[in-house]
Symmetry: C3
Subunit: 674 residues, 3 copies
Amino acid sequence: MVRHAPIVASVPHLLHGGDYNPDQWRATKDATWKEDMRLARLAGINTLSVGIFSWAALEPEEGRYEFGWLDEVLDLMAENGITAVLATPTGARPGWMSRAYPEVLRVNRDRTRNLHGGRHNHCLSSPVYREKTTAINTALAERYGDHPALGVWHLSNEYGGECHCDLCQERFREHLKGRFASLAELNEAWWTAFWAKTYADWSHIESPSEHWRGEQDIHGLNLEWMRFTTEQFVDFYLHESAPLKALTPDVPRTTNLMGTYPGIDYFRLAQVLDVVSWDSYPEWTGTEKDAERGARASFLHDLTRSLKSRPFMLMESSPSATNWRPVAKLHRPSVHLLQSLQAVAHGSDTVQYFQFRKGRGGSEKFHGAVVDHEGTEHTRVFKDVAEVGERLAALDGVVGTDTPADVAVVYDWHLRWALDDVKGMLQGATGYEATVIEHYRAFWEQGVATDVIDSSLIAEPGRLDRYKILVAPMLYMLRPGAAEAIDAFVQRGGTFVATYATGYVDEHDRTFLGGFPGPLRPTLGVWAEEIDALYPDDRNAIDWDGTAYEARELCELIHAETAETLGTYGADFYAGRPALTVNRRGDGSAYFIAARTGADFLADFYARLVADTGAERALDADLPPGVTAQVRTDGTTDYVFALNFNPTAARIDHPGGVLDLAPFGTAVIERPRT
Amino acid sequence: MVRHAPIVASVPHLLHGGDYNPDQWRATKDATWKEDMRLARLAGINTLSVGIFSWAALEPEEGRYEFGWLDEVLDLMAENGITAVLATPTGARPGWMSRAYPEVLRVNRDRTRNLHGGRHNHCLSSPVYREKTTAINTALAERYGDHPALGVWHLSNEYGGECHCDLCQERFREHLKGRFASLAELNEAWWTAFWAKTYADWSHIESPSEHWRGEQDIHGLNLEWMRFTTEQFVDFYLHESAPLKALTPDVPRTTNLMGTYPGIDYFRLAQVLDVVSWDSYPEWTGTEKDAERGARASFLHDLTRSLKSRPFMLMESSPSATNWRPVAKLHRPSVHLLQSLQAVAHGSDTVQYFQFRKGRGGSEKFHGAVVDHEGTEHTRVFKDVAEVGERLAALDGVVGTDTPADVAVVYDWHLRWALDDVKGMLQGATGYEATVIEHYRAFWEQGVATDVIDSSLIAEPGRLDRYKILVAPMLYMLRPGAAEAIDAFVQRGGTFVATYATGYVDEHDRTFLGGFPGPLRPTLGVWAEEIDALYPDDRNAIDWDGTAYEARELCELIHAETAETLGTYGADFYAGRPALTVNRRGDGSAYFIAARTGADFLADFYARLVADTGAERALDADLPPGVTAQVRTDGTTDYVFALNFNPTAARIDHPGGVLDLAPFGTAVIERPRT
Amino acid sequence: MVRHAPIVASVPHLLHGGDYNPDQWRATKDATWKEDMRLARLAGINTLSVGIFSWAALEPEEGRYEFGWLDEVLDLMAENGITAVLATPTGARPGWMSRAYPEVLRVNRDRTRNLHGGRHNHCLSSPVYREKTTAINTALAERYGDHPALGVWHLSNEYGGECHCDLCQERFREHLKGRFASLAELNEAWWTAFWAKTYADWSHIESPSEHWRGEQDIHGLNLEWMRFTTEQFVDFYLHESAPLKALTPDVPRTTNLMGTYPGIDYFRLAQVLDVVSWDSYPEWTGTEKDAERGARASFLHDLTRSLKSRPFMLMESSPSATNWRPVAKLHRPSVHLLQSLQAVAHGSDTVQYFQFRKGRGGSEKFHGAVVDHEGTEHTRVFKDVAEVGERLAALDGVVGTDTPADVAVVYDWHLRWALDDVKGMLQGATGYEATVIEHYRAFWEQGVATDVIDSSLIAEPGRLDRYKILVAPMLYMLRPGAAEAIDAFVQRGGTFVATYATGYVDEHDRTFLGGFPGPLRPTLGVWAEEIDALYPDDRNAIDWDGTAYEARELCELIHAETAETLGTYGADFYAGRPALTVNRRGDGSAYFIAARTGADFLADFYARLVADTGAERALDADLPPGVTAQVRTDGTTDYVFALNFNPTAARIDHPGGVLDLAPFGTAVIERPRT
């Protein structure tokens, strides 16, 4: 365990603040900007993000920059002790650019070129767009590189989408030439003999299309397109970063991610970021459902932290309603503090919002904000924010602390892309992400810290050594090296858990031959012959340890080979056949859960595993449902965050005493690390 | 109160008839047309609408007119004492025109140009289309201007849709230059600094598009596009009208509207019509639901009448099934008479149908008609129509009478456009129109006559003087002058009712600053700090006057400032806070209902207001549920229409006696006006 | 009754096998192909279908053929006594062709041209595509015409879709000139005076389009487009066939159909096939629902058989999961045998699968197969298949036998196209196909053999002579000759049953005048004045024979003219009016069921008719629900197939003894024909 440096070297505090758009208020700036500073300080805000979507304000005509307003804003911020997260403005572009250079506009899957408008509507290959990006970023870095307010570079905003223009098609073919030694190898990997899809020439390859759904039937092509799109963003990020890195090498750079956004493999993109940041918008309901929402939000925090295994930034969150939800509900009292401390508990060193002040127009004008249209500090939401500011100010000790985990759960973008395409089981509703979170939640409810990693990290030499338990729900795709690393992990004494739908396909979505779970068959000691899909109302059961646990949706029919049968099916024509097995192998154990179950089974099963392996719990206590505890530590002092996601009070009886949590209540306990 | 002139000066009767398409029966005209006349007279029909969609029949080749068939038809009608509603044929055009001049075809939001076909598939800007329109309309007016059958000009049919071609784009930019003094003003009004949308040049402005949903995020642009489209129809109507007005100045001109069709601001369009007409297709079910359907149909009649505050035409209705409904149900016995007298009760001087005779082909061949495919008078529906003919013939005294109302409910197209775009609350399901009708229905069930007006009429000098009560549900947008007029109305002694979601934005969909309900804050004496959106199954309550009325969907958290709290919330974290207030101001009162309620609260609340203000009821009686009474009067004689929308009998015990209404039954009572 | 020749003259057995794609396994062919042969023989397989979608493998570059791999495969098959169903590869084409000749790509309804990819993505008019097709088919026939393995030609695969390119538009206009003597006749038939659609020139006619939904409103155009598309496939099939027919006149040709696929009139297409084949994928659930699924599958078998009134081929079926179902459920034990014998019971002389070996890639890689990815004979599914092989091998006597039927049910593509377009009743949900199957099922549950014929067969001279009962549910469209043939059938002593929604329109979707059911009014002795559509939860009743049977959805209000009233309505304003009538006419009877009922009424009603007419039942017994019995016979010996579609056991007590059927169990009884 180490204590990491603060994100902004000169600010040894948890950062508190959010997106700030003074450029929308230039008409009334004398009144508004100053008032903004007063209100920010009143709310305990020490950082503001500026310049996001400001390209039209910074470069109103081609080549003519207007930095005056930003100079003023940054100066004001510096005067008020507020650190700037300064954005490059490339998330949207001025209208003049689309008119002068139509090539910058994206081409959709249906091969139509977009009109100007919206966010992320640019071609990542376009030389013109890249040139304009370099110019504005260079100008920003030159002008503000030494500004005392500058803390972090925020590149663009929420990267996403894809482009199918001719330039991108050509780059895609280049990408493929890097991936396959020959067209024959590509044809074999993509199994193009199916439906006469064999490519006779590289130039015949086109990106996936909506024109003809059959085109998507080359799953290998779809996968490579997603990999290519990821690499396009990596490449564009590096391109955007270059002038910033050259001119301000010590200022950390990031771009804000979006949890499990499917369009980009974040494990890959994170490799090129200095610090990871993300935007979190859980849908709080004020009801019992918030326990499940809380688990999901925690999962996403842990995933984001695991991308680089170090403190991250909560770049955006809502202080109240999230305006685009079908039902834009207000945050109940205490919820704002709860979600903010939750982020810190899981490794964030910041609590930031979208947005500081509500705009008067645009589609986000009703999104929660620190300062409402009403304009004063006399609102419920403002007071909630100020309370968070106060609490964070008391947690300087947390800055840079670590979040050690004995357990890792696997979540993998490439696997997900394959399952999104799957024709079989329950089709697009086969449910990968929700299943991973169900498994994750069983640890979360025990207060067991969990990393979330993907197959590329599994295969990283030595990476698995830190874990006692590795859980890989629905490990449908085995990417290169993963099966070998998992087997070694087990042989060395690790506890591995796999489920139905494991080991079906390789990285090209080509099935393994010789019996599923493919390369993991010896590790798990089972052969999965068939998988049964159940209708929504159908139920089966896993009989284990004297209890009949409900099984549903997917039931795999397996043969225990070297494995021992622990549980069996309770019904249907496969009643009595193995449903839960363990394979003792080397010094470790490999469990196999053959069917989808409810949370009850997962809770009992993983409680047993935690007990067996001695995986660390934040508190040595049985936590009430909907309550979690998470630890941050520098190796000497533990900061235990107890979080209650219930609309009712909860009590934790732990060795250090009794802890009473109010509805949606929180507590932070400091204790020496033992 | 005045008695207005009959719509057709020479016909001092209620008009009875409908759309007639003899051009579809030219192959058998000798038999069919004569039989049509016999059947029309048998049904008590005194008007038929001809020439709608007849362009291909009237001008089969470019420039070659064929009027012979229409000559014959109009002569036959004149011989049989049937007044013609003669249409211009511009609702659809012949195929030769689309081939010769592709520019006449509309361009969709996705910027693709339509193929030929369908209705309303023409560009309103196209010089060629306008030239062709002038030519055919001139020819019609020249030929039939003096024909004894000619009664009313029916321009085109059900104006609708929009065009995004280059010609329309250019006109749109011209429209904008008329609306904004400068591009800077437009940018500020549309808040384009949001997402770098700032326009650097007028030419960069494009109409809303489907290409890229983000484009729609400029709500100000969307609003102006709808305003522009309305003006396009106004302009096209005037263009179409010009030759008719020049050649037949005494023949009234109309085009048939469609209730609350969202694409055109009918309050604006009505300004240029001589008489308002509309097409009413309520979905009668034969069950208890018809009470709600009846209220809605009445609302639409009242809205249509209020457009010009004088008798209107029911241009289309179905004598039985409406063929395009998901379930094309037959009218139950008595329903046809009920819906016909309902129209008259609310101010229509006509009862007209689509259609006189069912066509053999086309998508409307199964729509209800006076004469079925079977072809005789021996059908149930024909007898229903003949009964209406008989009843209307006995109501000559009603022609031109007025419909005085002490209450006005506000329905506003511009506001609706803004709410259709809203990102917040319940999004597109925020439910403006249904809410307005719920409030309207509380008066309707009391037999209280109600006008339906928009913000432009509110702001019209003196307009509000005629009302005792003004109800403006969800007055989200305050258009220029509205707040001032409402405040004056209150100060002068009026009773004003507003609700949650009031006073949020100006005419450009830009929020007010300083606290909602914006400019109405002093009038209402409340500050609306936040609005909570509830999930569909969630419930709160308004405790008022000893009763806990259900609240749901939207609950605004308000502070009573100068207002007095009448009712409070019953649950959730805002239990006990104000939910119903009144602000005594000047000589009047301004009520604020903070949450969405059921019909029970509105019934009780508005009954109290009617009693307090002395607003006139048609009958001095408590009407049974699902029954309404409406008055038409010339100031001397009242015609009271009692209408029972229940499938069961109903009794009204009123000062004049006991009135028994059969299921779906009707009665008209004549009495002296007091 | 006759015994037909075997499909492959040299193979006097039921064929057993399926689609085989050795071209996907060329990389490992030495191991895989030999193993395939071993496994096929082990499973009792005597036929394999090869070459489907092999164009890219057979002609990797334009004009360069590679037949070597296919030589090898066919030689191996011949060595192993396996008959080849050899495909032409035109279901998909190599990428080089789309690049070199973009005209081969289809144009969609929205007039966009597809990108390369998918299946059936070619223009059927394209001269280039036709030329390439002739070349490859000629080469195949020349090379393999004398190969000992060759048994059947399989043309393309699952014909479907349509093309809207300029070439097809031109051919469409030619088709129309063949259908109508003049443009005036077309205009009158299509009733184009409606909405000014009158065509002034043949060149103005365009195919249906998505651009503008109104275009579809010419139902006559839509109908002719479907007829044209059918003729395009007929023509293309004949084009494809020509070289095969010339070079191998004795080898039967087929293309595989898809039940009631709406895009092609299979009664027309079947006229040009030598043998009919189809692909059957019922959705078995393992529950009580399978009785209904079983009836539907039987209906489709009977429909397919009736296309040519002789044994057909079950070209594709799944040995287990159907991968593209929303829930890809495994076949329960016994289900595979059940569905296989079901096909034979209804007239199939083959049981074939998609697919022999699961591919490693592509969208069908998880579709059920004889050989799984695991690769051995040790799977449950392989054993199921081998069991079928064994059972079929014992049924040589069934080959070529007939399936005589006393009952015919009408299913008509043209009628369905018209009802798909209907604007009225319940719109697109008016429910033609499901209704036909409900009527069919009443016979199926009695073990009464049923043909399924269309209006063209009704009108075929002498065709109805073979039937005792003719049932035509919802005979909405009366195509030429149908009414006359039905009346003659009744007059000669036949029993005819019609329902609501009969006799509304002619072949151009133009309504009949003078009262529905139009030309059948004298035959049925009723006048159908109106039809009432009911909401989903609404119910009425038919009171018949002491029972009140539920009526729902559609209730026609009829007048019994010459007909006798047997049953009356139980509720609503038409209570007591006729709901079931019979018209005694000549020597026969014509029944009319005025409302949609549940299966209970149909079961009782048709049981009465079967008893009255003496229509033959497979077993002289009351079958339990969900059980059917079907007969195949050569006139001397009957093969009675008893099939239990219940998940529970069933017992049949028949004159020959007691027959106990296991869950999903089957039995074949041989008996002399009496």
